[in-house]
Amino acid sequence: MGVIYILICISVFVAAVFLYLFIKSVKSGQFDDQYTPSIRMLFDDELKKKKNNKSQKQSN
């Protein structure tokens, strides 16, 4: 049953990794504004598409 030492260590290590990621994301400001990014993600590539539409219109 000595494997329990390794398993527990791994589980704590995994948890610590998540803690580290959390702290890192807080530090980078991800939790400062919790509203705008949720909208921003909806319209990433729209600009290009529109330009294409426009050029199509002109070619018609």
């Binding site: 704590v12 530090k27 939790f31 504004d33 600009l47 529109k50």
Partner: protein, 791 residues
């Protein structure tokens, strides 16, 4: 009804513009659309219907941005040619706004990046100062309907570092809590088997290791607060909290190293985590509102100085006595001054809430805080900015006192009883058990301190307040912080400002008094006033019935007097009583515009301040609930009769109150032991709002002008004041009930502790169960009261 494709405003029939199959209300809106469609940005109109705003002419307004000194004060960051600026844009309101502002780089290549923080209505723009100047960016924004609002407040106001400590601490506490909980499971179901015996030390040491950061880092706010409160000899709730945490940790160490026990590390981390999350909840604030505004947020950062007939932008702090200033349309007058131009129409609505602009003649004194409506004027400053009549109000001590003033909350009061009681119980238990053995006595002492750790007690208030603040916000009363709710429940005197608070400065009632005007005559009046820029003419034009628009045969505006004109067969003179040589005998000083048709005075239009709807009922309800009511007004008693009919009989009306008088009035009430709730709107109420126990500022548009206050009420929710008051009272009741619940948990826990039977398992059950029930109880109750409270 047709709406403009860009801004959504109603299109006036004759002025409709069609472009690209889309209908626009004005050239401005169409230009913005053209600009967007040329740059492939028409997606702007897809996210939201009619998202835009009519662009305002801002050409000369931002000339001061050519002054490098002012610009450098506004910038957040500057390194070589890379500059970063953060601008507050009141129009930001939907996803289209975010999209267009974050695509600014398509409109100007000098902008490398722009990012919106929606909750604060701010956009951060990174730009290259070699290709584009700040002024060009601001003008670009203004030209697409997103004019930034730059005030004196921005001056030298460097971005505050965001304090993320609480998040870190909560994260660490959760990490410790979760892992220790898991690692303690074998211990909870401790059956005496071989497996547990072999590995328990490993689990326990690991727990200590995991608990260390929670004990040493996450819990620090409690140690600090407890230390301060001991120093101030006030028994706040953080003393038993900090004591509980420290005792739990030490007892656990003793248990693990000397007594072959598991300790209470899981409960300790759980406690710290729940407490910190309570703090997080309480932090709910309305980022987009500002509760700390003083005159600086209203005043411009720079004005145009006239020097040797040239216009020079200068900072407002540089204004000296005798400086000649030019004030354009819609610009604010930052300093007490004398008017040099012929006439000016000054809109004092920020200051007094009075909606009708006041007419001033050459040589008249103009007080700071007014806005010029109409043509540009020239004034001569008679003071510096800080010595002006209005700004002097802020040197009153009430504005300094406020920050350091600390209110005793219900939690603090409860802990004043709780803390000594707890300590004496622990001590009695210790003495009682010391007759048995010292070991047991130590265990009992620590167990009492652990189990009675006022977790549930301390969590009650943050969770209740946090929820109530959210529920009130939904109903359009925005509170500055949670302490306001408690004050709200205690208020017994309500003081209302009159102008702008009881009256609405949005809807003005315009009534016609006099001989009946035919349809043709009304049409003539409308067509004549159409050509005038006088604010009263504009208002009149808006309310007169729709008709055909034709150019009058003669139009002659005599500044400060009225308009003369010929329309079809009518000869009209529209203007003041003086000019038309009529004696105005009524005592009430209403704003009137007289109409004379074909040399015969027909009657007048009177611009009445419209009282908000439901005032009568509001005052009656408040009176029934035994609130003492006052109405303060800066005006003369012209409207006393009218007001008497609206308010309840024993409401006291006080007139002719200067800003300082209002403040003294509140102070006087407070010296008689009253808890005063003041409801006001303008900058002239700022002193009274700060002095009163709770100052609520009422606003038609919560995003813009409101003076510093404890709460901001949307004008639409004005009649709900009794509801908010009774809701706050019920919230207090909820807290008291929750305290009873918390105490009963404590009694159960204490009986375990005093009989020396508190095992880590019992503690590990009681702590989360009590926390969970308390949180759900207060959330549920405040939700129920939000629906049930009487309006």
């Amino acid at each position: 009804m047709l709406n403009c494709y860009h801004c959504g405003n109603e299109i006036i029939e004759n002025e409709m513009l069609v472009f690209d199959d889309k209908k626009f209300c004005c050239k401005g809106c169409q230009t913005v659309y053209e600009l967007f469609s040329d740059n492939g940005l028409t997606n702007y109109y897809d996210f939201e219907k009619n998202p835009g705003a009519k662009p305002k002419d801002a050409d000369a307004k931002f000339n001061y941005l050519e002054n490098a000194n002012i610009v450098s004060k506004l910038l957040d960051f500057q390194e070589g040619s890379t500059q970063i600026v953060r601008l507050y844009i009141p129009h930001i309101h939907c996803s289209s706004c975010i999209w267009i502002l974050e695509n600014l780089n398509t409109l100007n290549s000098g902008i490398s990046q722009s990012q919106v923080v929606f909750s604060q209505k701010k956009v951060t723009i990174v730009f290259n100062s070699e290709t584009v100047s700040l002024k060009e960016i601001v003008l670009l924004l203004a030209s697409i309907g997103y004019e930034p609002y730059i005030s004196l407040e921005n001056f030298d106001n460097k971005p505050k570092l965001i304090d993320r400590n609480l998040l870190y601490k909560t994260g660490v506490a959760f990490f410790g809590f979760g892992n220790i909980m898991l690692l303690s499971f074998p211990e909870y179901f401790n059956v005496n088997d071989y497996w547990i015996h072999q590995y328990k030390d490993f689990f326990r040491y690991l727990n200590i290791f995991l608990a260390l950061p929670v004990f040493l880092y996450s819990a620090t706010p409690y140690y600090i607060s407890a230390y301060h409160s001991i120093k101030a000899k006030a028994f706040n709730i953080d003393i038993p909290m900090a004591l509980g945490i420290i005792v739990m940790f030490l007892r656990s160490l003793v248990d693990i190293f000397f007594q072959d026990g598991a300790g209470f590390l899981d409960s300790m981390c759980g406690l710290v985590f729940f407490m910190l999350s309570g703090k997080l909840i309480q932090q709910t604030t309305y980022n987009f509102l500002s509760f700390e505004r003083d005159y600086k947020s209203y005043f411009p950062i720079a004005v145009t100085k006239i020097e040797n007939k040239a216009e020079v932008p200068i900072q407002v702090y540089e204004i000296e006595k005798g400086t000649h200033l030019m004030i354009r349309n819609e610009e604010l007058i930052p300093v007490d001054a004398v008017l040099l131009s012929d006439t000016a129409y000054i809109d004092y609505s920020f200051v007094t809430g009075e909606a009708v602009p006041v007419e001033k003649k050459s040589g008249d004194k103009i007080f700071a805080g007014g806005k010029q409506v109409g043509n540009a004027i020239v004034i001569e400053a008679v003071n510096s900015v800080s010595q002006s009549y209005l700004t002097q109000l802020w040197s009153n001590e009430v504005f300094q006192k406020r920050t350091s003033q600390k209110l005793k909350t219900i939690t603090d009061r409860a802990s004043r009883i709780f803390t000594p009681a707890l300590l004496s119980i622990a001590f009695i238990g210790f003495i009682g058990w010391s007759f048995v053995s010292f070991n047991d006595a130590f265990n009992v002492l620590t167990a009492v301190l652990i189990v009675a750790c006022p977790c549930a007690l301390a969590l009650t208030a943050p969770y209740t307040w946090g929820n109530v603040i959210r529920l009130m916000g939904k109903r359009k009363l925005y509170l500055k912080n949670t302490a306001v709710i408690e004050q709200l429940s205690k208020a017994d005197v309500l003081v209302f400002d009159k102008t702008g608070t009881l009256t609405s400065n949005k809807n003005q009632q315009i009534k016609y008094v006099g001989e009946h005007l035919t349809k043709e005559e009304l049409m003539a009046v409308k067509n004549i006033v159409r050509g005038s820029n006088h604010p009263l003419s504009r208002r009149l034009y808006m309310v007169l019935p729709e008709c055909n628009i034709k150019k009058p045969l003669l139009f002659n505006e005599i500044a400060g007097k009225g308009i003369e004109g010929i329309f079809e067969e009518y000869h009209l003179r529209i203007g003041s009583a003086n000019w038309l040589e009529i004696s105005d005998q009524s005592a009430v000083h209403d704003t009137k515009v007289y109409i004379e048709i074909d040399h015969k005075v027909k009657g007048y239009f009177v611009f009445e301040n419209e009282y908000r709807k439901g005032i009568k009922k509001l005052f009656e309800t408040l009176k029934d609930r035994n609130y003492q009511l006052f109405v303060l007004s800066g005006d003369n008693n012209g409207e006393e009769k009218m007001l008497r009919q609206l308010v309840s009989a024993d409401t006291q009306l006080v007139f002719n109150q200067k800003p300082e008088d209002k403040l003294r009035f509140i102070e006087n009430l407070q010296s008689h032991g009253k808890n005063v709730l003041m409801i006001g709107d303008g900058l002239n109420d700022a002193g009274a709002l700060a002095q009163s126990n709770i100052g609520i500022s009422i606003s038609e548009n919560v995003n813009v002008f409101t003076p510093a206050s404890d709460a901001i009420l949307d004008a639409g929710a004005f009649t709900k004041i009794p509801y908010f008051l009774s809701f706050a009272k019920n919230a207090m009741k909820t807290i008291k009930m929750s305290y009873c619940l918390a105490i009963s948990y404590n009694i159960v826990g204490l009986s375990f502790a005093l009989s020396n039977q508190l095992s880590p398992l019992v503690a590990a059950i009681i702590m989360p169960v009590s926390t969970a029930t308390i949180i759900s109880f207060v959330t549920l109750m405040s939700g129920i009261y939000a629906k049930k409270s009487k309006g």
